[in-house]
Symmetry: C2
Subunit: 400 residues, 2 copies
DNA sequence: CGCATTAGTTACTTTCCGAAAGTACCTTTC
DNA sequence: GAAAGGTACTTTCGGAAAGTAACTAATGCG
């Protein structure tokens, strides 16, 4: 008898209701910045009684906090509630090739601390040991740890199945760090982690579905549908790097012509600059500087890249019709003056109608996306199942 | 205060639990063909008591049926339960250009009756009136009516926003048919309806996510993720017709080169046959006949088309990593001898690894997909919220 | 025929939500 | 300045759902 649980939403018990409603209350506060119990009740459709109970528990758990009452024209003043920004800490680590970045946020995803960890070797053990030590030396113990890595990740058990840059195969990152630190750990591909964070905390906080496109030295997409990541059974969803664009003439490493990545990655743009004999184009920042200095060839290259990215965005829009497209990586953030070209191309190539300024936006985290992303993995768990991660203490009324 | 309900799963009450568990029980039976209460309990994780209660209600509602007990090696024999195939009827209508097709299925989606309705005019009123009359003359009143139409459909209120072939704009199909027949009505784009039916009843019954690709005179995709259709806010998701393939040299109606549809639609293939001066290629069936007769040019055209479709499939696989890709339309079903080429091309172009024979399959409904699809809209509602559509009668034990 | 074994049901408990009623705190009015 | 009225929140209680424990049902085996 095969297991129907894996295919379908599981059977519900009463605790699931409680948790679902705690989540609804928490998300209502998150969405409104701060909200009184009565406002939460209106937003969620729950009764005032039920909201009151949930709030009491969430305050006891250190997730919500009461603010001073705000008098209305008439009647008893409301007591606004906000996410408790001092109660709990969340940690996230992006593991890169030569360095990893550790970030610590509050429950709203505000970045409080960012620590860079450099490593010469790419051996998994030393890197993970370094990461674990960094987490342990934090002044406050985080309630959860999110790990974002490139390559192919199996998020269920937190295994990095394959990462060519680091040369990792089947590294059990989740298990190792969980045992080493004693903190709950989530592991996810870096693009997907950033997509999820953007969906909860960034521009996507009003959108149920979102497509996230990262364009840097590699290109990848993260897909959020109904507030959850879509990974695919192999965790391979979002592999947009090798779709063919309408432009041709460039051969990709994969052997085919006109792949998105072969046209629009940092390396591709720099290689093109090299061909043209442009000086000072070691890295993309150099090329952008030259373009800003007035070099029309460099400007042309960056504009061309923006158009390529725009075409990739058009593809995502037509196929997924997301409520929001969030852009990140050097391709969107380092030279925002080309966003106009990007949006124009996306509008021209897509067959769906949309308002480009509203639909296609750069990441709200900028260069911090890389560490806010993994923290978002933990926050996703907190927002969806608040009582699981944070156990409510025998709550007590806090208002004087 | 904006409404958080639209963005997030709604707050849960007790009736939602009941319904969710009724759905889980029903789906377990559906997945296993037939299952005893004890097996359902094992599959869903629910207690035997709870399963018993749900089953009693579902039998009372005419959804489940007890079979004769089956003796095991030891102990009391199990009483298998199956979906009641004689209890309720479900109707679905595909509205086409010159004719519509009405289908009637049982609760398992077995097609019991198919009626063709021809119409000369494309006026909405007469067509819908004809449809309503056909539904009313059925020997049994269906519990729900699914409508599948081409073009742009707003499923929430059942409005056909735009259908160029029929010349419809903002036709309130759902409201009109609901008022006329008194039967609950669902309206959805035809590709998405078929995708949903395939997900519940066809090859996708074991898959939580599925990509459905229809290739006929038009090309479109339906995306099912976590057992639910992904429509996008504008209902535009799945617009794969105009993505560029690697092949060039054909200009699409949309003005660009190498669009999927310009390369692989029925019309595109026939136009190409015409250019080559092939005789007897009025329609695709003719071309296939000629190819089967040994004409190598015709064979080449069909093989080329299969490869183009394969490339489209590769795109869906890389972007969505679905558990299953289901093919339908003339492009996949009429000449299955080219499936091999299609799969080969998909494997070659996709960067994700997969077993092509298992991942890429033709629709299990064949030519009936067009009417089983809209029935699937109703069945989706039955399986997800069983007690909503079918009210349980004061149930009574049925075993002797 | 008693016994082990499995299937399913009945009786009771626990846990959740919601409605009604009560308390808190503010403004307005006389 | 005390009473009236209005809104925010809490306490009390009843209903609904699932779960546990104990029971009955049906079968095979010695």
């Amino acid at each position: 008898m095969t297991d129907a649980l894996s295919l379908h939403p599981p059977a519900r018990r009463q605790p699931a209701i409680r948790q679902g409603n705690a989540s609804a209350v928490l998300r209502a506060v998150l969405a409104h910045g701060s909200a009184a119990r009565s406002e939460i009740a209106a937003a969620t459709g729950l009764s005032a009684v039920s909201v009151g109970r949930q709030v009491t528990d969430l305050i006891g758990a250190g997730v919500l906090r009461e603010l001073s009452p705000v008098g209305a024209e008439l009647g008893r003043p409301r007591v606004p509630l906000e996410i408790d920004l001092h109660g709990h800490r969340v940690a996230g680590i992006h593991i890169g090739l030569h360095r990893s970045s550790l970030g610590v946020t509050d429950l709203r995803g505000n970045l409080l601390r960012r620590i860079e960890l450099t490593h010469d070797s790419t051996e998994p053990r030393p890197i993970l040991e370094q990461a674990a030590q960094a987490v342990e030396t934090l002044p406050e113990r985080p309630i959860g740890l999110g790990i974002a890595v490139g390559g192919w990740v199996q998020p269920i058990d937190g295994t990095v199945v394959e990462n060519d840059a680091l040369g990792w195969r089947n590294v059990e990152v989740g298990t190792l760090l969980r045992e080493r630190t004693g903190v709950p750990v989530w592991v996810e591909s870096n693009v997907r982690a950033m997509a999820l964070a953007e969906s909860w905390l960034g521009g996507g906080s009003q959108a149920a579905s979102l497509a996230y496109l990262f364009v840097g030295n590699v290109i990848g997409a993260g897909i959020v549908i109904r507030r959850a990541l879509h990974r695919g059974p192999q965790g391979a969803a979002g592999a947009i790097a090798h779709v063919p664009l309408s432009d041709r003439g460039v051969t990709c490493q994969c052997g085919r012509e006109g792949c998105f990545q072969a046209l629009a990655s940092d390396a591709a743009v720099l290689a093109r600059a090299d061909e043209l004999g442009l000086d000072g184009t070691r890295d993309l920042a150099g090329l952008i500087a030259i373009a800003r200095g007035g070099n029309t060839q460099a400007q042309g290259l960056l504009r061309r890249r923006a158009r390529h990215v725009g075409e990739g965005v058009a593809l995502l829009i037509d196929l997924l019709n997301p409520e929001l497209v969030v852009l990140a990586g050097s391709g969107a953030l380092d030279a925002p003056e080309y966003l106009k070209d990007l949006r124009q191309e996306a509008s021209a190539k897509a067959h769906t109608d949309f308002e480009a300024e509203r639909l296609i936006v750069p990441s709200s985290f900028g260069a911090d996306a890389i560490v806010v992303g993994p923290c978002g993995l933990v926050l996703d768990a907190v927002y969806q199942r608040p009582t699981e991660l944070i156990h409510p203490r025998p709550a007590r009324r806090l208002s004087a």
